[in-house]
Amino acid sequence: MPTIRFLLADGAELAVEAESGRTLMETALENSVPGIIAECNGSAACATCHVVLPEDIMSALGPISEHENDMLDFAEAPREPGSRLSCQIRVSDALDNVSVRIPAA
């Protein structure tokens, strides 16, 4: 099981075991990761599950849909090059030990 390292807005790190195939957002909710609200529960409609990933793993995660791309510009914290909606990312070995930062709103 991959380990995800959530880097919280206050600087603390929360490492959790994640189940492959679940989304990063689901993993965050199941582990009560602060800052992931996910109002729309994975529909990419609310932009409240914004995370920032290291840029070098972006390509391993596949392309961003037009819809997610639009939403990311309107998340509360400003968009960064590694920004994604965590509900649109499936946990896989590519994310093992990767730092997933929750940007400060």
Partner: protein, 393 residues
């Protein structure tokens, strides 16, 4: 052994319409699920319970073929789940995404807002429901749907008639007749508009539905355009009025926001938390399940009272108070889960970035004409219904 669901039988329907919040508070404190006889529904009123329910659509389904909503407007995305819902939602989202709102709709919405204000500006007084909020909400919606040339009063009549018909539990024949007339009016308008949108693809909702993969059928278009009319006009209108009302009653907050315009967004979120335009929507249980220890049986319907959840004092301190500067927390005014309001981003832009800031800028020293004459009404749908104001000319 699970506790029996408590019943509230001493509340009149009129009490709910006049002010549901005292009832909501009583029900919230009584238990996680409470049957309210006057509304003939089991209410779920606590924030955390509703959030948990909306994360479990397989148990708490939106599917309800027998619902009045389906009868009045046809099978539509609000009463579907899973892939059926997702496909229909994806067919309208390209018109409603925040970036599309900014690029395609903000300018026409500004034109509408300026035009409506120009018609009242010189008068020094107005009734904001009829003279401002309703025409702006209706005209903006007509643009976004692709209903060119449909006048705002027709849009408003359709919206009200469809909403009334969907809540016509007493089977009043006059309400049913009006709803049917509105439905056929919308269908004729769709028929008239479709060739244009087929020929010239554009960002409107009608065009998005035709461009979707697979393109939506005419039946899907009829039904979901009716949902958009019933769900996109009154709520926007009500939130315009609620935000103006909250700020007129709290001039100190208004002054801070005007000094720091980035706060308009926050002010809007507080307004829809304070008086949520949609107060309740139903879900049907697909299995026996406990809601915070209270057993509810398969097949039963529960009313998720988001208006009540937005006043849950377990989450919000002094919930009855309009306070733009309260501790920041998410609310449920747009619902939650996959049915999260599709028009959220349109309403945020229209109400908090365009209409309300412009109203306070153009109508100098705006104030309530008579605070006692402001009327607020409704519980499933709630908002100011009468708001006379004056300003300096």
């Amino acid at each position: 052994m699970s506790e029996a669901v408590k019943v509230v039988d001493d509340v009149a329907f009129e009490d709910l319409l006049a002010n549901p919040y005292p009832v909501f508070k009583r029900v919230r404190d009584l238990g996680p699920v409470v049957k309210v006889e006057a509304a003939n529904i089991m209410m779920v009123t606590r924030f955390d319970d509703i959030m948990a329910i909306e994360r479990d659509p397989e148990t708490f389904s939106s599917v309800n073929p027998q619902s009045l909503l389906n009868t009045v407007i046809g099978p539509n995305l609000m009463r579907k789940d899973g892939d059926d819902h997702a496909r229909e939602r994806a067919a309208i989202d390209p018109s409603l995404r925040p970036g599309v709102v900014k690029r395609c709709w903000a300018d026409p919405m500004r034109v509408i807002c300026d035009d409506v204000i120009a018609q009242i500006e010189h008068k020094g007084e107005a009734e904001l429901f009829e003279d401002l909020a309703a025409p702006i909400a209706a005209r903006a919606l007509a643009d976004i749907l692709g209903f060119d040339g449909v006048d705002w009063r027709t849009m408003a009549l359709w919206s009200q008639s469809l909403i009334d018909g969907s809540g016509n539990y007493s089977h009043n024949p006059e309400i049913a007749r009006k709803a049917k007339k509105a439905a056929s009016g919308v269908e004729s308008a769709v028929d008239r508009m479709l060739p244009h949108h087929r020929d010239i693809p554009n960002p409107s909702m009608l065009s998005s539905m035709l461009q979707a993969d697979p393109p939506q059928t005419v039946e899907q278009i009829y039904a979901n355009i009716k949902v958009a009319i019933g769900g996109g006009l009154n709520e926007t209108r009500d939130s315009i009025l609620t935000l103006i009302l909250g700020l007129l009653q709290n001039p100190d907050q208004l002054a801070r926001i005007r000094a720091e315009p980035l706060l308009w967004g926050q002010a809007f979120e507080e307004a829809v938390r304070w008086i949520s335009p949609i107060g309740m929507y139903p879900r049907r249980l697909t299995r026996d399940v406990e809601i915070s220890g209270m057993l509810v049986r398969k097949g039963e319907q529960v009313g998720l009272c988001v208006g009540a959840a937005n006043h849950d004092d377990r989450r919000f301190s002094d919930p009855e108070k309009f306070d733009v500067f309260r501790e920041k927390k998410s609310h449920l005014a747009f619902g939650a889960g996959s049915h999260f309001c599709a028009g959220t981003w349109v309403s945020r832009a229209l109400v908090s970035q365009i209409v309300v800031p412009t109203v306070f800028e153009r109508l100098r020293n705006l104030r309530l004409k008579d605070p006692d004459r402001v009327r607020i009404r409704g519980w499933v749908f709630r908002g100011p219904t009468h708001m006379p104001v004056i300003w300096d000319v």
